[in-house]
């Protein structure tokens, strides 16, 4: 269970990754704030960063299911860099259950506009 405390929502200090990228939370890259002077950054509490990162991975897993029942992969890691640095969220790899929407047509009225299915 997560208990919301305002103090916990402040992100940690950034550490430098490249000359344009920093990192505050493990495995979550961020732009160097110096590059956002013109646009300005928003106040993004820790819970929101977590929500966005988790949602991104959930969404990507979900997208596959539009096109195939199963994702096949080579079963190999990165050949360009050490595995633990390759992709930030390692724990997210692999296939997960696809979406389970029973589906519904764009009906305007109940039952009347159900598509006829010829099987």
């Amino acid at each position: 269970m997560s208990v919301f405390r305002l103090g916990d929502q402040v992100p940690p200090d950034p550490k430098r990754i490249t000359d344009a990228v920093v990192m505050r939370f493990d495995h979550v890259y961020e732009v160097d704030p110096a590059l956002m002077e013109l646009t300005g950054q928003q106040d993004v509490p820790a819970w929101d960063t977590k929500r966005i990162v988790d949602s991104r991975w959930d969404h990507l897993d979900w997208m596959h299911d539009h096109f195939a029942d199963e994702v096949l992969l080579a079963g190999e890691g990165s050949e360009t860099m050490p595995e633990e640095d390759a992709m930030p969220s390692e724990e997210r790899s692999g296939v997960r259950e696809g979406p389970s929407d029973p589906g519904m047509p764009g009906v305007e009225e109940p039952a009347v506009d159900r598509p006829d299915v010829r099987e």
């Binding site: 305002l6 704030p33 646009t39 928003q42 929500r51 109940p110």
Partner: protein, 433 residues
């Protein structure tokens, strides 16, 4: 800080900000404040938001898209529209948060840039501008006048709500007033769906959790803020925080997702560092208590059910695992799930004041939600938000084949052998078991 993040609602003085000269100064300030947000969307315009928006799925009117909500601000800057031209469009939003989460500006780069799409804030701010410039909506005006009078939302229609009766739901439960842990009870839950509140409170009691009620249980102020009544929202927040402090509260338990959002987003914006409370989300607490064995679920509930992810848990806060875990812990339940990403495009239509101004749209959104549940061949739809349960229940009752709509806490209480009491649809209906 940018983008009205802090400025929305904070520094409006005692006056109502009405634009006496009609010279558009308020509108100009609004545009100045929100133009970066607006361009964040307008410069893209790809509309990934459109098909996940519950209102858009029904009306198919581009005016009601999150894209339009942002584009209008740029259009105002260009002198093409003013508030009066677009006011009705901004009514068409439940503030479910699907759009701003689905938007690639959030989902793919919001964390990287610390800059994301904030449609909910934009809609709230525009509605506040509508109030300030004489463009307020009649239904919302009356609703919030009644809130101002009674300090709870007029959830019982013609039957007035009142502070004298705000804790009637707790009759027979012997819940004390005050203490370190306060149970916050939402207006809908206190007056309309008391079975929800009684279920939750009795589950806490069964687990031996110590908690008390507020001395004066006012509305959290969230819906007023959603409809654009900024000072009214703040007034209620101030009262609640004062009440909490007066009884030495350190921790607030919020079972209702709408309150949870008010306490973890609105209130921190109001008070900054001067906000010391721990906020506990009801469903996560109950789930933990069950996992720890402090609540034992011994009575099987032989139902075939599916779960409705409330928008303000799933999309707005990323809470979707705990309710499912809790649901699966109910013995005898057969649970046909629809995953939480698919449910980004689901909604009950109950939020954001939509049922007050556009009840026919809320009704259609709920009708579709119930129809989707029925396609799974279940005998009940379980939700975890009392605001969703009203339109969903009405849709469930009027479907060709009626579908029961239950709250998750009500279900869990049943499995814990609790005789819940209370009512699910206002006091005039017979109480349901």
């Amino acid at each position: 800080m940018q983008d009205g993040d802090q400025k929305y609602g904070l520094d409006r003085g005692g006056g109502d900000g009405y634009d006496p000269n009609g010279d558009g100064e308020l509108q100009r300030q609004f545009v100045e404040q929100w133009r970066t947000n607006a361009y964040g969307c307008f410069s893209s315009g790809h509309k990934f938001c459109r098909e996940v928006c519950p209102v858009m799925q029904v009306t198919r009117n581009e005016n009601h898209t999150p894209t339009a909500f942002h584009a209008n601000i740029v259009a105002m800057e260009q002198g093409l529209v003013d508030v009066a031209d677009v006011a009705d469009d901004y009514v068409h939003c439940t503030q479910c948060g699907a759009c701003e989460l689905r938007c690639p500006n959030t989902l793919f780069t919001g964390d990287f840039y610390r800059h994301r799409t904030r449609t909910v804030d934009v809609v709230k701010a525009m509605r506040a501008l509508m109030v300030d410039t004489g463009n307020e909506r009649e239904g919302w005006k009356v609703w919030n006048e009644r809130l101002a009078e009674r300090h709870n939302e007029p959830v019982l229609g013609d039957v007035p709500v009142s502070q004298e009766h705000v804790a009637d739901w707790a009759d027979g439960l012997d819940i004390p007033i005050g203490g370190e842990t306060i149970l916050f009870v939402d207006c809908e839950a206190a007056f309309y769906r008391t079975s929800y509140t009684r279920a939750f409170a009795q589950l806490l009691q069964k687990a031996g959790v110590e908690f008390g009620l507020m001395r004066e249980q006012w509305c959290c102020g969230g819906p007023a803020a959603e409809m654009g009544y900024v000072e009214l929202a703040r007034k209620h927040a101030d009262h609640n925080v004062a009440d909490w402090r007066a009884v030495g509260a350190k921790r607030i338990i919020a079972p209702d997702p709408h309150d949870y959002i008010a306490f973890t987003e609105d209130y921190p914006r109001y008070y900054g560092d001067d906000y010391e409370f721990e906020i506990v989300l009801g469903v996560e607490l109950i789930n933990d208590l069950v996992k720890q064995g402090r609540i034992r679920l011994t009575e099987p509930v032989e139902r075939v059910v599916t779960y409705h992810d409330p928008c303000r848990l799933n999309k707005r806060k990323g809470v979707h695992a705990a309710p499912r875990e809790l649901l699966r812990a109910v013995p005898g339940i057969e649970f046909k799930d629809v995953d939480h990403v698919t449910q980004w495009s689901y909604c009950s239509g109950g939020g954001g004041g939509l049922p007050v101004e556009k009840p026919e749209i809320t009704e259609e959104i709920s009708r579709r939600r119930v129809a989707r549940a029925q396609q799974l061949e279940v005998d009940a739809l379980i939700s975890a938000c009392p605001w969703s349960e009203r339109p969903l229940s009405q849709a469930g009752a009027s479907a060709d084949e009626p579908l029961e709509v239950l709250d998750l806490f009500e279900l869990v209480a049943r499995a814990a052998g609790i005789e819940v009491g209370g009512h699910a649809q206002g006091p005039v209906q017979e109480a349901r078991p």
